[in-house]
């Protein structure tokens, strides 16, 4: 069976050498690059099956390079190999078209597994990262359940508007400009999908912000 062709892109030569040595018995490393734009310029000529790259690289970071490479070479599989354990960065990497996200410290045990997985059309993320992701999903879900409808400032503005004060008067009372009051009012209406001021006032009553509950 033909060995899969791999490109490595990382500006740390020591590390690229170590990874190259580790992969070569099983795969063919067809090119190594130290910057994002050098990688993007030369990748298509090398006809890779897999590109392994870091998030931080000079001239063009890995996330931008990944998005551009996927446009140029839709079939190529991209794996991030990084010291960056940030969940948002990993999510952004998959959004940009990556199929794998592996931590450098786990490279020896996980990179080959990740390569095998993505060659078969699958996805791979370092297990320690996915634990964090699951935790983050659970927290977000809990937060969504208890998410407040309005911000503290929006509630203050809403209460005063519901009490019948004009936007100008509210601005004076809260020591902000009328434009800011208008901004809060329209942001609330958009957020609550409410189309008229009357509906907004009745919403205020419903949540207990109205003349009856005034100070």
């Amino acid at each position: 069976m033909k060995r899969a062709r791999i490109i490595l892109a990382d500006d740390h030569e020591l590390l690229t050498d170590a990874i190259k040595n580790m992969l070569e018995p099983e795969y063919e490393v067809v090119g190594t690059f130290m910057t994002g734009d050098a990688l993007v310029k030369s990748a298509s000529e090398l006809e890779p099956d897999i590109i392994v790259l870091d998030v931080s690289m000079p001239t063009m970071n890995g996330l931008i390079a990944c998005a551009q490479l996927k446009k140029m070479l839709p079939k190529v599989k991209i794996i991030f190999l990084t010291m960056n354990q940030d969940i948002d960065t990993a999510a952004e990497a998959f959004q940009a078209g990556a199929s794998g996200f592996v931590l450098k410290t786990s490279a020896a045990s996980e990179l080959v597994t990740a390569i095998r997985e993505v060659l078969f059309g699958g996805y791979f993320a370092t297990p320690s990262l996915t634990e964090g992701m699951v935790g983050s999903f659970v927290r977000n879900f809990k937060r969504m359940k208890k998410r407040r409808e309005l911000t503290i400032r929006q509630k203050e503005v809403l209460q005063l508007l519901a009490e019948g004060y004009s936007m100008k008067k509210v601005a004076g009372m809260l020591d902000i400009t009328t434009r800011t009051v208008a901004f809060h009012k329209y942001a609330m209406m958009e957020h609550l999908e409410i189309e008229s001021s009357a509906e907004l006032v009745s919403y205020a009553m419903k949540i207990g912000l109205g003349p009856e509950t005034a100070h």
């Binding site: 020591l14 931080s56 010291m83 354990q85 940030d86 410290t105 927290r139 911000t151």
Partner: protein
């Protein structure tokens, strides 16, 4: 002991008032330079930690794993060392991120402030919510870093000193201006007390904003919470610089 004026003419009484104004200006200029120099230095150290130290740590981790694969009898002894190495790598990454948020460069301001809110909320057990409206994906780097630092400082004040249980962080974009609002329901403070203002890192927020032609507003009353408002003008031609 008398004063020594190094190579400068001794000021006369008539120069005194102008001198005070002049030294205030110089002090502001100096603070601005100090902030820029500190950010540069933090960025440099963060880069050293991430680009040098941490990559060497990664190479050691890879070599250890290869050693264990070549000599299966060593696997049990190598495993705990690998765990230590991974933990050091993680700590270095966190330290580097605290010094300079590389996420700002990779993902931009909205995701960075979003995760700042999440981290602060997790660390301090305070309910922090983040709202954003129409903020461009990429903004000038100096504006991004300034607004991030202001958000960091304001959140620190709200969660450490104000006793707030809820904080809202809002980032919005309107007519070429970026606006950050940090509102808390804490105990508030007397904005007329100069000492209080200085103690809360407000000077540093003000100076940071001044460097990008922005402005800071603080609205607070005792037991009525605090609103920190930062505004930064952004010209369309400077995006992503």
């Amino acid at each position: 002991m008398g004063r020594v004026y190094l190579g400068l003419p001794k000021p006369t009484d008539s120069d005194a008032r102008n001198g005070v104004l002049h030294s205030e200006e110089s002090l502001k200029l100096l603070t601005g330079r100090l902030i820029s120099a500190q950010e540069e230095e933090r960025k440099r150290i963060a880069r050293e930690l991430h680009d040098d130290l941490n990559q060497r740590i990664a190479v050691i981790a890879i070599e250890l794993e290869q050693l264990a694969s070549a000599h299966p009898s060593l696997r049990a002894s190598v495993k705990p060392i690998q765990k230590h190495i991974e933990a050091i790598g993680h700590d270095i990454h966190v330290m580097s991120h605290q010094l300079h948020p590389s996420k700002l460069d990779h993902l931009g301001l909205v995701p960075s402030i979003k995760s700042l809110c999440r981290e602060t909320s997790g660390n301090r057990g305070c309910d922090i919510e983040f709202f954003h409206h129409g903020v461009p994906t990429r903004l000038p780097k100096d504006v991004e870093l300034c607004m991030f630092r202001v958000a960091q400082e304001a959140l620190q004040n709200a969660t450490r000193h104000s006793g707030a249980s809820k904080v809202d962080v809002e980032l919005c974009w309107a007519s070429g201006k970026l606006k950050l609002l940090v509102t808390d329901n804490g105990r508030g403070f007397d904005v007329t007390r100069e000492k209080m203002m200085k103690g809360l890192g407000i000077t540093s927020m003000e100076e940071r904003l001044r460097l990008i032609d922005g402005a800071l507003g603080i609205n607070s009353k005792l037991s009525r919470g605090t609103v920190v408002e930062a505004i930064a003008p952004v010209s369309r031609t400077s995006y992503g610089n």
